[in-house]
Amino acid sequence: MRRGSSRDALVLAIIGRPSGLPGPERVDLAAFWRRFDTSAPWHVRVGLAAADVVVARIAPRLAGHRGGLATLDAAAADDLVRRTAANPVLRPLLDAATVVACFAYFDDDRVEAIVRGPLQLGAADADGGAR
């Protein structure tokens, strides 16, 4: 059983479990939502709310589950969001939610720092100039 709000569950399901990185459940989503709710323009908040309702609350029930996305185990949640993404009508909602989920996940400095790693700039290739 997953805890937290259904939009937390949406973020967890969209991000999945990238290996070598902290799981999205270890990110401080409450802090992210506080900033998001005060910074995002109304149409972005409405878009996410629509994705929350459709993908995290309605779609699981239409798929035969007894509860929303927050009640599903990881495998069932993954299956649900991937099948939803394959639906051309629902895809735009999930695209918008994916941007927000990536914002939420990488807003954690640990995740961002692990992905970036140390600066690895090397010598320029010989073909780096103008033609």
Binding site: I14, G16, L21, S39, A85, P88, A101, D107, L121, A124
Partner: protein
């Protein structure tokens, strides 16, 4: 007051009255250039900016944090019409300059010629030689130079390789940076302060010459009396009302969206104010390479392909953060997780389109609404740009590319499919993953008051003492990154405001900087 010459509107809980010869609305490239030119000529200047000052150490690494802090509407303002395309504007001291890609182009000669051919009244007002001289001074002050190969990184070198392979003209991007280490964070704001953005250059020059900068105050009204602009009213983030009176002129330099909105909100509706909105919508192509690309490091936008500028297309390496790259690479759940693990191998390039569409800025419930619908020709440029970018990426060694087009393959490995995309791909703009970063034309200049908002001298046709200095006055879009042409035009505006000779020598700060390096006036490729 937070510093000498500065007023921080976040601390203004009560009213504030200011007075100066000239009040400038907006502190981006146009407002900063106007303020520097006027202040160094001895004119008293107050600059009022809606956003706040940000110090380099405050800039966050993630795109979300940067957008929430320093972009208007979190970078998610949308045009409405044919497709909900986001348009991106900075909201901070320096405008978009501290969070742009640091890309510098001079005014293209062909665009200047077309402006003069369409309106002979502009010939004496915008002399080419003067624009060139002013641009030289600006470029010296900003330290504009080609991207240092030592900080280009793999992502920029791959574009060079791809362009070379398909035979398109390309070059390192000329940027306004000093001592860049290739941290790849231009669009989030350089945490080391190595971008010569206007808050650190032209606006600093204005302050040094005595200008006052009022931040975190949104100007809501241009005050007029007997047909003359006499000042502005604004609201501070701290809640206080701000009244700034202008003895000589009000100069509006708030962007091609905010400037017409302010004119309309002030009841200044003469001419095509808000009309003729033009832009450079862009589309992006991602590609997966066997070798690491590490899009998040190297000069954020360090290489460009100019060989199709005559078609209205220019290609640039993109410099978005890790979060937006992950979202763009796509997938959800376990698919997205795999892409995130593999993110270091993905590149993302953009095509900027010199679109022919005209839109409009209106005020709805006090807020700007931009209606804009790319034409069929513009959407054709989207498809063409994606095809060429895909061909370049595959030629550079990409295993597969993803044009991000709804209803089309997300995993393209055969160049013939890219030809199919151009020839038979979607005709609807809504099918493409697009964004707008450059906007023009909503208070355009011209000799005919029925067809323009300001005259060739940047002065409003009907309201004395009111000038517009930003890209709103541009008769058309440019097809190239506009920050330097915006500054150059704004300097001419300032000289008109102060009654100075258009061909006067460069300001003291620019002249001092000009002693370090010879001018590069290389004609841009067309």
């Amino acid at each position: 007051m937070s510093a000498a010459g500065r007023v921080d509107g976040r601390e203004l809980g009560v009213g504030l009255r200011l007075a100066a010869d000239v009040v400038v609305v907006g502190s981006g490239p146009a407002g900063a250039a106007v303020a520097a030119e006027l202040a160094e000529a001895g004119v008293s200047v107050v600059v009022i900016e809606a956003g706040r000052w940000w110090e380099p150490a405050e800039f966050r690494a993630g795109t979300f944090g940067a957008m929430a802090d320093t972009y208007r509407d979190m970078g998610a303002s949308m045009v409405v019409g044919g497709a909900p395309i986001p348009y991106v504007q900075g909201r901070m001291v320096g405008g978009s300059s501290p969070v742009n890609g640091a890309i510098c182009w001079r005014m293209p000669r062909d665009v200047h010629r077309s402006w003069l051919a369409d309106d002979r009244a502009l010939a004496d007002a915008l002399p080419w030689d003067v624009l060139e001289d002013v641009t030289d001074a600006i470029e010296h002050r900003l330290g504009v130079a080609p991207t240092d190969p030592a900080v280009a990184g793999a992502k920029n070198r791959l574009m060079a390789r791809g362009a070379e392979a398909v035979g398109l003209e390309h070059r390192p991007i000329r940027r306004n940076v000093a001592g860049c280490r290739g941290l790849g964070r231009c669009l989030q704001g350089c945490p080391e302060g190595r971008k010569a953005s206007v808050d650190r250059t032209l606006l600093a020059d204005a302050e040094a010459a005595g200008a006052t900068v009022v931040s975190s105050v949104e100007v809501t009204t241009i005050l007029t009396s007997r047909g003359r602009a006499v000042g502005v009213l604004g609201t501070a983030d701290g809640g206080g009302a701000v009244r700034a009176m202008a003895a000589h002129a009000v100069v509006v330099a708030a962007s091609a969206v905010q400037t017409p909105s302010l004119l309309l909100a002030s009841g200044i509706t003469q001419g095509p104010v808000g009309e003729h909105f033009q832009a450079h919508p862009g589309v992006s192509m991602t590609g997966r390479f066997a070798e690491p690309v590490r899009m998040w490091e190297g000069a954020s936008q360090g290489h460009e392909v100019t060989g199709l500028r005559h078609e209205g297309l220019k290609f640039e390496v993109l410099g978005m953060g890790v979060d937006l790259l992950a979202a763009r690479v796509g997938g959800v759940g376990s698919d997205l997780a795999r892409h995130i693990e593999d993110l270091a191998h993905h590149a993302d390039w953009g095509a900027a389109v010199r679109a022919e569409a005209h839109g409009r800025v209106r005020l709805v419930a006090g807020r700007p609404v931009v209606t804009y619908r790319p034409t069929a020709h513009d959407v054709g440029r989207f498809r063409r740009g994606l095809r060429v970018m895909g061909e370049m990426m595959l030629a550079a060694g990409a295993e597969s590319v993803d044009p991000g087009v709804r209803g089309f393959d997300r995993d393209v490995r055969d160049p013939r499919r890219l030809r199919d995309l151009e020839e038979r791909g979607p005709r609807r703009a809504a099918a493409f993953t697009a964004a707008i970063t450059h906007m023009f034309g909503t208070a355009r200049m011209g000799g005919d008051p029925a067809r323009s908002v300001v005259g060739p001298d940047f002065a409003h046709h009907n309201v004395a003492g009111l000038y517009v200095a930003d890209s709103s006055v541009f008769p058309t879009n440019l097809g190239v990154n506009p920050q330097v042409p915006i500054m150059a035009m704004a300097v001419l505006c300032a000289r008109n405001v102060a009654g100075l000779d258009l061909d006067r020598p460069a300001t003291a700060a620019a002249t001092a900087a000009a002693t370090h390096e010879p001018t590069d006036r290389t004609e841009h490729p067309t």
